[in-house]
């Protein structure tokens, strides 16, 4: 009970910020709906199916890479981090609290992806399972990757200047919104080494639409990334006694 209260306490602080910046949430909804409309008009049902898988992975990736990392970075700069170290809060409780505060974004993503899935005939249960598995993995992996970089910078005053380009680089350039089959053969095989490509392809598999890579290969790629960024982050993520 005590642990739950602590997590809610951390979320209470951060959610006040989300509430006051509700336009971010509205912007996120508008962009998502716009993407769905654009793809349905140009690419038809297949493009929309792909978009559901992309949305499941990319929404979690953006949340972890950009938003959670920015909140954590800000807490370090503003000395909130030190205030929390000198308290009974553990590092795990802190991260769960910050993640809980971001749930309005996840709820929005769930509502949009399941609604679209319902109208284009994708199994809702499979969509929810994909959300639970892929979105969670994307959030954790995105946050860990971002933190492993941000926490190495001595004066991280402009965190979004790092996280925004990183998000664009990992989502727009590799075959995330488009299929790997359009790439030259060598590039196709290499692309599975990019975490977002592996996450989206796994989402394709779970929701039951065409996937490009063997799910075992995608899962292995994700696990290797998790271990690698986990080690890199653990080296710089210290909860006191620095």
């Amino acid at each position: 009970m005590n642990i739950v209260r602590k997590i809610i306490g951390i979320a209470y602080k951060d959610i006040t910020f989300i509430k006051s910046q509700w336009m971010w949430l509205a912007q996120s909804a508008v962009i998502s709906i716009g993407w769905m409309l654009m793809l349905s008009s140009w690419g038809g049902i297949n493009a929309l199916k792909n978009m559901v898988a992309v949305y499941i992975a990319v929404s979690g990736w953006g949340l972890g890479l950009n938003l959670i990392a920015q909140f954590v970075g800000w807490d370090k700069i503003s000395k909130e981090w030190e205030r929390m170290i000198a308290s009974p809060i553990s590092l795990g409780e802190y991260f769960l609290g910050v993640t809980l505060a971001m749930e309005p974004y996840n709820l929005l993503a769930i509502v949009i992806s399941t609604t679209v899935a319902f109208f284009i005939g994708i199994n809702i249960m499979k969509t929810l399972v994909a959300f639970l598995v892929v979105n969670t993995l994307s959030t954790v992996l995105g946050a860990a990757l971002s933190l492993s970089i941000i926490l190495r910078i001595k004066k991280p005053t402009n965190i979004s200047a790092i996280t925004n380009p990183l998000q664009s680089l990992t989502t727009f350039l590799p075959p995330v919104y488009y299929l790997p089959s359009v790439l030259p053969p060598i590039a196709r095989d290499i692309s599975i080494g990019i975490p977002t490509v592996a996450l989206v392809d796994l989402a394709h598999y779970i929701i039951g639409i065409d996937y490009y890579f063997n799910p075992l290969v995608s899962t292995t790629s994700i696990l290797i990334w998790l271990i690698a960024v986990g080690i890199l982050t653990a080296k710089v993520l210290k909860w006191g006694l620095e």
């Binding site: 602080k13 030190e82 929390m84 000198a86 006191g240």
Partner: protein
């Protein structure tokens, strides 16, 4: 008490504690104790190592040498236990600008495991204590620096932690509010807490401190009561005058540019000194804690 450990009489203990960042020692040797249920003030010039010392005590930093204890728990070996008993207000910390003082205190208490209703009741008590009623529902961005500082002090004290560390809690706070903060700090120790704060203001330290710790250039120059600090200065009076043309060598003084402060053991010598220096007008008053502190820094600090 057979078989049980005797609890330490000190809330804070530091023994030759030091911290090195790369090749620079921020704190070279901090040694002092602060008894339980008292106010300890850490004083020293900018860059003396006050904040680094506090950060080691709250377990944010690991000492490079020496050791420390909080209510008997070792700051490295038993850091988890310590974190249950301390609260910290960092220097220049400002509450989240989208929160109101009330929300900020509630969130601070909930983070430490209190329920919402309990946190709200406790928050109201501290809002009243620190005179924040009028602004309790105003967003942080609309408050002055001093109001935000008071809200942070209220949140830190509301934790009811056994040992509360406040890094410059009164900086930027107006005089009236400053006395309100100092009054609340004294009431906290009556309720069982120990308060450790840093300040540059020795007059303020004299009002509130049971123990004063003077840190300079990473070393502890002194720790003891304000009375003991006053005993360190061998002078009883100070005369302030325009900078004289006469030679000041051999006279213990502080150069203020166009003015000088000269410390005296005996009030009667003032006229003789003024005559020697060719000064007609001067003021004379008893030395205070600030003079004792300055004397300590000048006489011992420069030898370090």
């Amino acid at each position: 008490m057979y078989g049980a450990e005797v609890p330490s009489m000190y809330a804070v203990e530091a023994y030759d504690m030091g911290k090195k960042f790369e090749n620079v020692w921020a704190v070279k040797s901090a040694t002092f104790t602060i008894p339980r249920k008292s106010v300890g003030v850490i004083a020293g010039p900018n860059g003396a190592g006050k904040t680094t010392t506090i950060k080691m005590l709250i377990t944010a930093l690991k000492p490079s040498k020496g050791n420390g204890k909080i209510i008997g728990f070792d700051i490295v070996e038993e850091f988890r236990e310590i974190r249950k008993h301390v609260a910290y207000q960092p220097q220049d910390y400002s509450m989240f600008s989208d929160l109101t003082p009330e929300q900020f205190i509630i969130s601070t208490l909930m983070m430490r495991g209190r329920g919402y209703v309990e946190a709200r009741i406790e928050a109201y008590r501290w809002i009243e204590e620190l005179g924040l009623i009028e602004i309790k529902n105003r967003k942080g961005w609309s408050l002055s620096g001093g109001e935000r500082r008071r809200a942070v002090v209220a949140a830190t004290l509301a934790t009811n932690a056994d040992v509360v560390f406040l890094d410059e809690p009164t900086s930027g706070v107006d005089v009236e509010a400053k006395y309100a903060v100092l009054k609340v700090l004294r009431s906290c120790i009556r309720n069982g807490s120990t308060i450790v704060l840093t300040t540059h203001n020795l007059v303020e330290a004299g009002l509130v401190a049971d123990t004063i710790i003077v840190i300079h250039n990473g070393y502890t120059l002194f720790y003891g009561s304000p009375t003991e600090l006053m005993e360190k200065i061998p002078y009883r009076y100070k005369m302030t005058m325009s900078k004289p043309s006469g030679n000041l060598s051999g006279i213990f003084h502080i150069d203020l540019g166009d003015k000088v402060i000269i410390w005296l053991k005996d009030r009667s010598k003032a006229f003789a000194i003024a005559e020697t220096l060719g000064v007609n007008t001067f003021s004379i008053e008893e030395v205070n804690l600030e003079d004792a502190y300055l004397y300590l820094i000048k006489s011992l600090g420069e030898k370090l």
